[in-house]
């Protein structure tokens, strides 16, 4: 079928297979940051935003994205880099394979919760698996990033 999908701000007019999933669509059109980690919607590696909402692109029919705006890590490089510096400062990115989906979920969490508690952080991100880090370094990075970027601080400046 024919779809119009805006991928990272670029309008794509494409003919796609009806059973294509959004993950395969975004990778096909250059968003290589998006990874597949499982077959069962359990790992969070493929997280992208559809109209600003974080979803698993492995399970989102590309057809359903017709007329919508899809954002991958490639589309939020600046915002992501700001957080990534904290992650890398901890060495918590490790193999990096889960980082893009994890970062997309972290940024979405910040937009949704502003100043999340530790429990909210764990719950919001629980679907983003990482086998390298044990998550503790990721938590240190999130804490430091939230501390240094309190909401309202920009307004005060």
């Amino acid at each position: 079928m024919k779809v119009k999908i805006t991928l990272n701000g670029r309008l794509l007019n494409k003919h796609i297979p009806n059973d294509m999933m959004l993950l395969d669509f975004v990778r096909k059109y250059g968003a290589l940051s998006v990874k597949r980690g499982c077959d069962t919607s359990n790992c969070g590696l493929c997280t992208v935003w559809v109209d600003g909402t974080p979803v698993l692109s492995c399970s989102y029919p590309a057809a359903r994205a017709d007329g919508r705006s899809v954002t991958t890590l490639e589309g939020v490089q600046e915002e992501a880099a700001e957080f990534s510096r904290y992650l890398v400062a901890q060495g918590a990115e490790q193999c990096g394979f889960c980082s893009p989906g994890f970062i997309m979920t972290v940024l979405a969490m910040r937009r949704e919760l502003q100043n999340p508690t530790e429990e909210e952080i764990a719950r919001y991100l629980a679907g983003n698996l990482c086998r390298c880090s044990g998550y503790t370094g990721q938590l240190r990075a999130i804490r430091a990033w939230l501390r240094d970027n309190q909401p309202g601080e920009e307004a005060a400046v």
């Binding site: 890590l73 992501a80 990534s84 193999c95 889960c98 880090s133 503790t136 370094g137 938590l139």
Partner: protein
């Protein structure tokens, strides 16, 4: 030190977190490859009678279908080990006999996934079903023989007898075990079970292959062992190693899984047959069910001690399940005893015996800890049970029995303990966890109780006398350096820590040293990243190569300054005359002069290293758990790991290694539960059914380092990668026991097992 012992960010950190397409499939996506998939056996043990492939071959877009009749009849092992590999040669790429659910039956390659899937559906296979052996405790001398083939081959004797389903066996003993046990005041005799855990790295197995303009087979693959890969691929395909090039790009985790070849041969064969580029990307299900895992084990421990807590005799008897093929089977089991018994240094006798058997389950392989993890669970648990029976604090029992620095360890191949601050690790861990206040238990509410437990462990640093690493350092024309290594960074950060060591020796900023992935055409030989070898073995090679280069730079500087070499000193930025410090020549000037005109001499230094010893890193782990007495539910509320890995080269990366390893250990202890159904089908081959820990399952893991100085290591370093996974299982098992009185001796420890135990205490049952 300026760079070593600091918290340096990983060199590739910002690129990876920006989502750069640096992994195998990202590179293949850009190169228009044939899609390769494998038809796999639905039966645990069967002979293929026929494969009808004519209709499948006619599917539009299908390029090639290969079955057992189309592959080289060459036995090999997929184990990434130095030649001659101790793992038996017991595989073909495709064989007429399939030995587990998931064993490959046919390889299909085509233009895209759709046509390949269609062809896979159309292949009609007829099987003659054979009686499978699914229970590893019934494998030995079972009427079903899994490897009766006449061309089964061992490079070295490992005590196997395939006709008995016995892959390997052996015994290492010293002293009069039975006599010592008889003289002990107390002996515990316990049997423990561990499961075939999945490494479960986030990037599944994947490989892409192509022929270059010279017709050489290029293999880009997610591997920990590129040089072993080259040798094994050439051997299995029956081609010259000179015709194979292996490239390792960025890797999405390995944990040992990628120390065995898994996906490489399928696209390689397709590329050889079709001349076209080809790629295979394993599904998560394939990764779980058709690769390799930790070896499932049963470990019996007999440990005897005097009334005052001196352990006088230790016996470890291990039965290991190799699964259908023998990768790493004879070697992993060795660590079960050799890395656990030596911690009881006052023993007058020990005995370590093992048997490894074939079954019709997925083959085991390498997984972080490599047998030491299973041994640690058994021996440390037995020590904890012993301490309890003696009425001695288990931490005190350890302090009474551990080897002291300088002592020779008979059960560790008589190697000396050349560096150890293990007593400090134990004491610091006790402080951090609050042992004095919390041992053994604290009641939280009417139904919640918290308990604490602990365990010790040791690993090695490389395989002594085997692992070989080479490093080459080049001075480039503008005065920066290229460090070339064959060790494989799989996300661990070894590129970074090796660059730190190089820059330390070369007195230069880290940015002056570039280091990249591995390419067997360009990188110097390295056995690969496994056996906790990279920091210690490759690190030493890097230090030696850089030290050599510093000497060369000083010599060339002296020549250009016209002074005797003894007076020349290289300070990182240039060479100066120690007699007249104002006379100096910059490194950039030296580098330029060396590549222009007469007297040119491009400076490189190469050093190889193989260590005669494998000094053990040491660790004390402490767990605090909370048990719900009404449901048996258990969660880890605190975990403390205190590690002696010698000098910590990179404080961040070592800490994350430890935190990640402990998390995996907690998963092994409580969650990760591989099971097979009665038909030999693995029932946990997805993240839906095989639960690795999420962040909501784990406490904030606390890690500290107590640094000894290892005289044989680079800057005093030992290894860190594996030792960190071992302590959680025994420490948690003991914490649970301390909380509620139940010992669970088979992993994983579930709420169901705990509640069962609680009810049994009351003379009841579920």
């Amino acid at each position: 030190m300026r760079l070593v012992n600091q918290a340096i960010p990983k060199l590739d950190g910002l690129a990876l977190t920006a989502g750069q397409g640096a992994y195998t499939d990202d590179l293949a996506t850009q190169n228009g490859c044939l899609v390769v998939k494998v038809l796999r056996s639905p039966h645990p043990f069967a002979r293929i009678l026929s494969i009808k492939k004519d209709t499948a071959s006619k599917v539009n877009g299908v390029e090639c279908i290969l079955t057992w009749e189309d592959v080289p009849q060459i036995r090999y092992t997929l184990a990434g080990q130095s030649y001659p590999e101790p793992s038996p040669y017991d595989r073909y790429i495709l064989e007429q006999v399939v030995r587990y659910v998931g064993d490959p039956v046919a390889i299909v390659a085509g233009r895209d996934e759709v046509c390949v899937d269609k062809a896979l559906r159309m292949l009609k296979v007829k099987y003659q079903l054979l009686d499978p052996v699914l229970d590893f405790e019934r494998a030995l001398d079972n009427p079903s023989v899994i490897h009766p083939e006449s061309d089964y081959h061992n490079n070295v004797p490992i005590g196997g007898d395939p006709a008995r389903n016995l892959l390997a066996s052996g015994c290492d003993a010293e002293g009069d075990l039975e006599g010592e046990l008889a003289r002990c005041d107390l002996v515990v005799d316990r049997t423990y079970y561990t499961k075939a855990n999945a490494q479960a790295m986030m990037e599944t197995f994947r490989t892409y292959t192509y022929l270059d303009h010279n017709g050489r087979l290029n293999v880009v693959t997610s591997t920990q062992v590129p040089f072993h890969c080259r040798r094994i691929i050439a051997h299995a395909l029956g081609i010259s190693p000179a015709m194979v090039r292996v490239v390792k790009p960025r890797i999405g985790g390995g944990f040992g899984a990628k120390q065995t070849l898994v996906s490489e041969l399928f696209p390689a064969l397709v590329t050889l047959r079709t001349g076209k580029p080809a790629k295979i990307v394993y599904t998560r299900q394939e990764s779980f069910q058709a690769s390799n895992s930790r070896h499932q084990m049963r470990v019996r421990v007999r440990m005897g001690a005097t009334r005052d807590g001196i352990v006088r005799a230790v016996e470890v008897d291990a039965l290991s399940n190799a699964g259908a093929y023998g990768e790493h089977a004879s070697t992993t089991v060795g660590l079960t005893g050799h890395k656990s018994i030596p911690l009881y240094a006052k023993a007058n006798a020990f005995r370590f015996a093992y048997q490894v058997v074939y079954t019709n389950t997925m083959a085991g392989g390498a997984f972080r800890g490599y047998g030491a993890t299973q041994g640690c669970f058994a021996v440390e648990s037995a020590a904890n049970e012993l301490a309890e029976k003696l009425g001695i604090d288990p931490a005190q029992l350890r302090l009474l029995n551990i080897p002291r620095e300088g002592e020779v360890m008979p059960a560790y191949y008589h190697e000396p303990l050349s560096s150890s601050r293990l007593p400090d690790c134990i004491r610091r861990g006790m402080e951090l966890i609050g042992w004095a206040e919390k041992y053994p238990r604290i009641r939280v509410s009417d139904h919640l109780v918290r308990g604490v437990g602990m365990a010790l462990t040791m690993q090695g640093s490389g395989i002594s006398g085997v692992d070989t690493a080479t490093a080459t350092i080049k001075l480039n024309d503008d005065g920066f350096y290229t460090l070339m290594i064959g060790a494989t960074d799989m996300g661990t950060g070894c590129d970074t820590i090796l660059a730190q060591m190089a820059a330390e020796v070369l007195h230069c900023p880290l940015e002056w040293v570039t280091v990249d992935g591995v390419d067997t055409d360009h990188s110097p030989f390295d056995t690969g990243s496994y056996a906790s070898s990279t920091t210690y073995v490759t690190g030493t090679a890097v230090v030696n190569a850089c030290t050599d280069l510093v000497g060369q730079i000083a010599r060339e500087g002296a020549r250009l300054l016209g002074i005797p070499v003894e007076r020349a000193e290289f300070d990182g930025e240039g060479v100066l005359d120690t007699a007249h410090p104002e006379a100096r020549i910059s490194l950039a000037q030296i580098a330029q002069d060396l590549v222009v005109g007469t007297g040119t001499r491009w400076l490189t230094a190469t050093a190889s290293h193989c260590s005669p010893t494998s000094p053990p890193p040491l660790m004390a782990g402490f767990a605090e758990v909370e048990v719900d007495l009404e449901t048996g539910a258990c969660r880890v509320v605190d975990y403390v790991g205190v590690v002696d890995c010698g000098t910590v080269i990179n404080k961040n990366l070592a800490r994350v290694q430890a935190e990640g390893g402990i998390a995996q250990g907690i998963g092994m202890a409580l969650l990760e539960d591989v099971n097979y159904d009665a038909h030999g089908q693995m029932v946990n081959s997805s993240f839906m059914q095989y639960k690795i820990p999420t962040r909501a399952d784990l406490p904030e893991i606390r890690v500290e380092f107590v640094e000894s100085y290892e005289p044989t290591g680079p800057f005093g370093a030992k290894s860190i990668g594996e030792v960190v996974i071992n302590t959680p299982a025994p420490a948690i098992a003991q914490a649970i026991h301390n909380a509620c009185g139940v010992w669970v001796r088979s992993l994983p420890i579930t709420g169901e097992k705990i509640l069962q135990g609680l009810l049994e205490q009351q003379g009841d049952a579920l």
